[in-house]
Symmetry: C2
């Protein structure tokens, strides 16, 4: 870190920390090599004057924001071209530049060309034939065309079979005729679709020889290559302002008798022959793989959001002084208020645990991916169930955590210069996209109820649900002794019992004559509850296993801190679901009090290292982009800098005074 003049309260925290933040930074980055790559990428992108904001985006109109976002997206695109030419691009680079870390520092309201890189190109790679890849990929990689991926419609999201856009094959011309027959069939939401992309992969219901064949992807040209005017039959534009991602240029798309040639249907998995004969795909599990990949990335993104928010809140809590604890003493750092620690520190622990869980499931995904390619589908349902509930839990908890951090900074957290509003907008979006959270939990629950039945029938379950076998054997959980091992085991026992109750609810309703589907719908409260606990049990187990293992590999000083992080995470997680624990495990009032005292003890023990710990997330000041959270802790100076950028303050008297206010004030004189 650079040697800067630093707020003395913050410096004091750093001086008294008991471990070396850089040791954890390197772990956090994924090792020395990745740490160096990260620093190099930051240097390359964050120090480019073309990518610095003169005017914060919050002061721009939506139109200005889009125009500036596109400008920057082109600068970034040009740099990516160079990296690619030098062979220095890679999955991590794209993830950093287009996703939650560097990406948000460069384009706070999102990148209108993201979907080109993360959906358009990969879809052609994954679903195009060799010939199609040869035709389209060079143009796409070189950004001679900019594409997007158009699947969801105004009236249809989650339920893909409900999509209305249709492609009818016309064998006489060997073309597909694509239409959005109704208002609700309009494609809606794709990033960059509004005014940026000139191509899209459009997903439509395929009809050949008058028969319905299921969904298929088509490459459709949206705009003229020279003039960028919409092509005939294309009705296209921007869907408007949103809670966040205002620069993404999410668009709408109507198609009216748009004709595309036969070879514009991506045909790796399914084919249409020139005469209209349809050749069905062999299996569709590969799309599960892609969804899982995206959800694994999202879990890591939620960790990143929490890291940002907790860094800002922790540093501010060290600098801000308010409300004497003892009326005879001066105002303390607000970090000394137990209630403040209670808000902020659990978010630090969650950031770390979600990161570790993200890494763990990422590794599991890679193993699975290899198995899938060899035709081994055995662990797919298990992994799918896990990724679904973790995506839901981590995004919901991270969103709540960001807001807790914001609220912990009082009124100043409400200002855009804190960056909390933007971080929240980006984080809460994850609750909805790539599988709405409730839908995700229900998918996990469906799996859990199924395997619960298998366990009752005596089957031995796969690893991530094996705890259900144990719980059935155990019946009653005894000797809950508040050790960390015991909390992890108890989480699993509680999860198994939540699944049991959900299972029993469905069975009861089936006995009452409902179909399985109706019974499941009526049991929604129980099913989502079971899936929630399944994910939390996994998080508890993973936190315990991984942090214990990591602690053995690092310096004793860091190991001590990580032990407190683990204990804080587990005790807090347990207290957050204390109702479930008390429901299935014998606990006294006094036991709960003890746990609450233990939580307070964890907070107190983390306090001296809290600043060093967030420092070790190693978030660049431009990534934080927060007057409250900068490394130097000069909160009030940065706030003053921010007001100087406010266009309203460029003139002492706004013209509206003369136009409106003065006539109003003088009206009756």
């Amino acid at each position: 870190m650079p040697a800067l003049e630093v707020n003395p309260d913050l410096q004091k925290e750093r001086n008294t920390a008991t471990f070396d933040p850089q040791e954890f930074s390197i772990f956090w980055a994924g090792g020395v090599e990745k740490y160096k790559e990260k620093k190099a990428l930051e240097k390359l992108f964050l120090e480019d004057p073309a990518l610095m904001d003169k005017l914060p985006t919050s002061y721009m109109s939506h139109k200005e924001l889009y125009e500036d976002s596109l400008r920057k997206a082109c600068v970034i695109g040009e740099k990516i071209r160079k990296l690619r030419a030098d062979g220095e691009d890679g999955v991590d680079t794209y993830a950093a530049l287009l996703g939650g870390s560097l990406g948000a520092a460069l384009l706070k309201e999102g990148n209108p060309m993201s979907l080109h890189y993360v959906m358009f190109v990969p879809t052609i790679m994954g679903q195009g034939t060799m010939e199609q890849q040869v035709e389209w990929l060079p143009k796409a990689w070189d950004c001679e065309i900019i594409g997007t991926y158009a699947q969801t419609e105004l009236g249809h999201g989650t339920f893909l079979r409900g999509l209305e856009t249709r492609a009818d094959y016309d064998a006489s011309t060997q073309e597909f005729v694509i239409n959005t027959p109704t208002m609700t069939a309009y494609k809606w939401w794709p990033g960059g679709l509004g005014h940026t992309a000139n191509y899209a992969v459009v997903v439509a219901q395929l009809y050949t020889k008058g028969e319905f064949r299921g969904l298929a992807p088509f490459i459709v040209q949206l705009r003229d290559m020279e003039t960028h005017q919409p092509m005939p039959g294309i009705d296209i534009g921007d869907i408007g302002t949103k809670l966040s991602m205002k620069g993404v240029n999410n668009g709408y798309l109507g198609l009216k008798n748009v004709r595309v040639p036969l070879n514009h249907m991506l045909m790796k998995n399914q084919q249409v022959l020139p005469d209209g004969t349809y050749v069905a795909p062999k299996n569709s599990v590969l799309t599960y793989g892609t969804m899982m990949f995206v959800r694994c990335v999202l879990i890591r993104d939620t960790a990143h959001s929490l890291a940002k928010a907790s860094t800002i809140a922790t540093r501010y809590s060290a600098v801000r002084r308010q409300s004497p604890i003892d009326p005879k003493e001066p105002e303390p750092q607000i970090m000394d208020h137990t209630t403040q620690q209670l808000k902020v520190f659990p978010q630090i622990s969650k950031a770390i645990v979600f990161k570790i869980a993200g890494d763990t499931i990422w590794n599991m995904y890679n193993v699975l991916s290899g198995e899938l390619e060899q035709g081994n589908l055995e662990r797919l349902p298990e992994m799918h169930a896990l990724a679904c509930c973790l995506k839901a839990i981590c995004s919901a908890d991270a969103s709540a955590g960001v807001e807790i951090c914001r609220l912990s900074c009082g009124g100043h957290g409400f200002m855009d210069c804190s960056n909390f509003p933007a971080i929240y907008g980006m984080t809460t979006a994850v609750c909805t996209y790539e599988g709405e959270n409730t839908v995700m939990l229900l998918q996990t629950a469906r799996y859990l109820v199924k395997v619960y039945g298998q366990a009752l029938a005596g089957e031995k379950l796969v690893p991530t649900v094996a705890y259900i076998n144990e719980a059935i054997k155990l019946k009653k959980f005894v000797n809950f002794d508040c050790t960390l091992e015991s909390i992890v085991k108890a989480f699993q026992f509680v999860a198994a019992n939540k699944t049991r109750v959900a299972y029993e609810q469905i069975e009861m309703r089936r006995r009452q004559g409902h179909s399985t589907e109706v019974a499941a719908n009526l049991s929604g409260i129980f099913l989502t509850g079971a899936a929630d606990l399944h994910g939390r049990a996994f998080l508890a187990q993973t936190a315990y296993t991984e942090l214990t293992a990591i602690s053995k590999q690092v310096s004793p000083a860091l190991a001590d801190v990580l032990k407190v992080v683990l204990e804080l995470y587990l005790v807090d997680a347990c207290l957050n679901r204390i109702g479930d624990f008390l429901r299935f495990i014998e606990f006294t009032d006094a036991d709960v009090t003890k746990l609450e005292m233990r939580l307070e003890s964890c907070l107190k023990r983390l306090r001296p290292n809290s600043v060093a710990l967030v420092d070790s997330f190693d978030l660049h000041d431009r990534v934080l982009d927060s007057a409250l959270g900068a490394y130097d802790g000069k909160v009030y100076d940065h706030i003053f800098e921010s007001i100087k950028k406010n266009p309203l303050n460029k003139e002492p008297v706004n013209e509206s005074f003369h136009k409106y206010l003065k006539p109003f004030m003088k009206a009756h004189l």
Copy 2:
């Protein structure tokens, strides 16, 4: 309601409702007279073309937004002048126009002149002497001057004694010299301070004869009456963009040797004589009264936020179809998914209960207010404790509820045209202003711990905490039978026990040698938990008492619906604190399952009347301002209308294509 073409699914819901929404609308408005007044006010303000938005505010730059907000504020101000001249203004009118209901429809991002009406004028009325009132009030009421109220500073909010702004009396000129000696002393946040107000009440630390005298309020001229240029020594501007209220023109203010005459100090409660002699105030309880007044208003505002959000989500849930429950059936109204009901319907019940609690505490405040004027302070601490925790609970629950409603609308809830982002911004702000929520809970807790000690000593407590006497007598809660009476009693028992635990924690730490203050800080987790349950016990009791009473006064059809609302509220509230219930009351796993099944049953029973119930909140389409929630339910038409207003869509090709995108795409060709 007007006869419009209505979405058939929504119309079907209305046709099959079992009660008359207007009956409830009249109750909701506060009786027939108030209902008529509300309609008249809506007509007067909402049908004025000068107050309609051509361009939604979300598309404007911050500067444009301020200018348009000021324009509208002047139009509203002129109308208020007329109402006042006709004797038709009143507390309710100001609350509606400047607060959460009509106000937000007219100025979605807040009114830069609000503080003039709600703080500047009332402060002069409350703290000015007769002469001062005669001098300032006519000018202020006629808006010949526009004022604001400047108390909080960049570095100081909650802890008033920490304010740094100081006023030194100079007897030689009979003037005060006001200074903000440091950066952190800058006044920060006052609405309208940036560029709108030309006067302010400035709160400063008073020094006379070289001695510190405590805080005092001063009338300070900020800007020239003719040119609006800042006065000498005044450094002033807008603090910048925020999560919401972007049109309020929150400002900053530095004062450098600003001199104001002796009679500009508001001297009703304390005086400075010409020679500098200081006359201290008799008592300061009256300021408690004002804070309580504001918090009572805020509790009602939270009900209004929930009413808006739940109306939008309920109507959308009736119109939107998605994801078959039975794969053989078409996609149902999403309202038929139990998990959707679970999100939306509890927010309807909370809107109703918070409204009733707001009315109840409002009535209690009015009684108290009379008592205070007669010098009877007996019930002040009790009422203060109650208002504090209810402000915190209702604002936190309403914020969470708004987000749950937004998320229940999937991606479309994320669009600004849903209006959820703006509603959330306005609602979550209440968590921070007028007493930060954690500070509020701690204030309540301090009272609870004190009275717990009194109860242990055998004292009989005042009504709102009398349940503590009972719980101490009872020791163990027996026969929890899940009746509504029993849930209410159990809430009180649990609340009493949370206070007991907090009390014991503080006592334990005192025995360990900590001062009471340090002991209280260390027990923060326990204290906030106790205050939370105290407020929830009051809400449960009030919901039960009031809704039962109301049910007896209305038609049997409406009474039946209100009974379901009450049951839903209580069962949901209980399940949300089930950990606390299980901790202090004997419950089995099966009991919890039964409660969860009862929740599901409440949802199912409310479903047929849910649309009629939100209709009966009688929220004008302009108040809702939501493509998803309009009365006619034509969701997709309204979304299409919204994209037509988007300035980006006014031209098929944005100029940024030629400037940035085309050169980028063609760079390597």
